[in-house]
Symmetry: none
Subunit: 214 residues, 4 copies
DNA sequence: AATGAATGAGTTTTCATTCAT
DNA sequence: TATGAATGAAAACTCATTCAT
């Protein structure tokens, strides 16, 4: 106890540091990394940038991650691990093509809007695609989608189409539309999902007509 | 004297040897940048990398571009300036929805396969970034597509749908599918364009059935 | 426990070893800069020169100063901050014109000889620059002198002369003579101050006669 | 004549280049150097800066000067060669101490104001003293003044004082006062010279009284 | 002679990582 | 374990000078 008092006396104004657990520090770094990577892109982000967005010291970073690369991977994995189960669950419960497609887009657009600011910000910098495409978790998410499409084909739910291209089309529409959606004043994930779903189910002629152009 | 006249006549038209070398060097740097960016991604690429991929001296780079950023933008603009007129021409001649959509994808996929160095380089680098496109020229290309969609709606060619989302969907599918296509052993731009066109015209159920899955 | 108390007590006062090293390194850089600037002149000096004159690593320089310019300014300010109080004290105690002038030159010449590293270094470099002085601290020192002259005029100590020109004359004589003095084998600040004082009090005809020319 | 026409035809809009003689180009470079050195100081000035202040090409510089150093020396020498004879003439005609001192300051202050913008501008950058002090011509000018003082002592015109210190005092007052003078709205070289002359002849108590403080 | 782009050595600057405290 | 200054390899950038035209 004497020692504790000593410590407290020796630290003028660092109250609260004792509260920080290892897990919290790791999360603090991950959150800071997410924000900074999204703002400057992977290449332009320095470890110092991440640390600066943190109450921690530079050396502390290395108690949790070996390098910039590692924290980046961890961050990507965290994102993928959050959305992948959501998407998979949505698809697994689909009994019809409509449900499969609708649930995929609905889940994705809602996730983008509610849980994660990155996907929007990521689009503004040159490293975006790299960030999106190349960590194992993200690639696994794509593979998962293709596999689910293949299963749907096998079970007769889907017609026997090119699963790889269909996956690509879904992914492309999801990312590109989410960016446009996020830029609108009143982002409406349901409307966006309805649009994408109609497109995939019936093509352009099935898309909902806009009031304005009617 | 004949030679002198020749030289005089030649100067304004072909701009002289100096001028030609200058243009060549600029192009050498742009081409090297395209290759290196495609190979390592924007963030991981250094100006030194670009110079190393060139027979030129380091200082020469700075006679043409201020920074990595600037050469990257120039490279994107060059790409956009090449493909935009092709795409616009293709769309302008469209008399039906089918032609509009089909010509867009066909032109894009063929360009990716034939003319674009970086996409070719990407084929050999599974985890390469797709060049992010938001320089003025590229954005103008997107705007052009949306405007053409709006015109098509106004003329009754297209139903009155959300032009912004439709543009995003086309762009997303074009980029994402072109990447998948480029990775295949026998890339077939016609087949890819047919797939995308069928999707946009009639939805999933209109997509061509694959023999394998049939 | 005694040791712990000792540490606690020592921390705020002596600022800890880290803090001490930091101050030392800053001083090491400043001292090296002073020597190198004096030897090569401001323009010919590179940051590398300064670092080389130091046991520190190149990056360490940038932990303390942004540029050559900044370390130069800091160095000048340091000098000005050292000599300004000495000069002001000397003038404040002056009850006569003689004391005012005499004390000013005496203090300046003695400082140059004893305390100022760069002037000492200059002695070994005939064509060294005299550090140009126009950082805020230095200018403030000049202003202080002019103000003290104005006060002396107001109190009747000095005749009502042009204080700005008189200040300039004193400064010019002080700097130029100090340089000549420093180059002599046996620099004698008292003799130099007597010379300048006699000049300012009675003009050329009051200057001490040299034995040689008599 | 045919060739001349050919040349004219080949040069779209370079009229007047034929007029430039070697001597003119040399002078163009010297004048540009004077301006640029005065503005940025010796160290911060690049050969490119000088060329940019010129209608000439970079390669042309090296037809006239070997290096930055050489053009700098030439410029300094030009200045010193202009003012040194003026000063020497003024002193040689002096029959009294008054005339010697008065003519020196009068000539210097008028030169600074009329013929040369450098001396003022030079004071604003760190390399000033170096620029002023160390070219052979400038040093020779100082030596000349000291020699003239020694001759004046030998002839009985001056009392037997320390010629080196007196020279330094004159130089210091001349440069420092010229800077203050140049900053005034209505620079008056006669008044400045009268001030300095009175100081050197009779000390502070002989200085002209200002109306304001009377 | 004049031109001005190319050169590359040298300088400035950054920043991931280490390590003494 | 936390801290944050030190490190130095590597990247960015400059610029005096050369040389083909």
């Amino acid at each position: 106890m004497t020692m504790e008092q000593t410590e407290i006396a020796a630290r003028p104004a660092s109250a609260g540091k004792r509260e920080r657990t290892k897990q919290q520090n790791r999360q603090i770094i991950l959150d800071a990394a997410r924000t900074v990577f999204a703002e400057h892109g992977y290449g332009a982000t320095t470890v110092r940038d991440i640390i600066r967005a943190t109450p921690l010291a530079s050396g502390t970073f290395y108690n949790y991650f070996q390098s910039k690369e590692e924290v980046y991977q961890a961050m990507q994995d965290e994102t993928a691990l959050t959305i992948r189960p959501k998407l998979r669950d949505a698809r697994l419960q689909a009994a019809t093509v409509e449900e499969f497609i609708s649930a995929t887009f609905r889940t994705f657009f809602e996730f983008v809007l509610r849980d994660d600011v990155d996907v929007r910000a990521m689009r503004h910098n040159a490293d975006t695609m790299r960030m999106r495409m190349d960590t194992p978790e993200v690639v696994a998410g794509f593979d998962e989608l293709r596999e689910d499409i293949e299963k749907a084909i096998a079970s007769g739910l889907f017609p026997p189409v090119d699963a790889d291209y269909l996956m690509a089309a879904i992914v492309g529409v999801a990312f590109e539309m989410s960016e446009r959606m996020a830029r609108r004043n009143e982002a409406d994930p349901k409307a966006a999902a309805d649009f994408a779903t109609a497109l995939f189910l019936g093509g352009i002629r099935s898309l909902p007509h806009t009031g304005a152009a009617a």
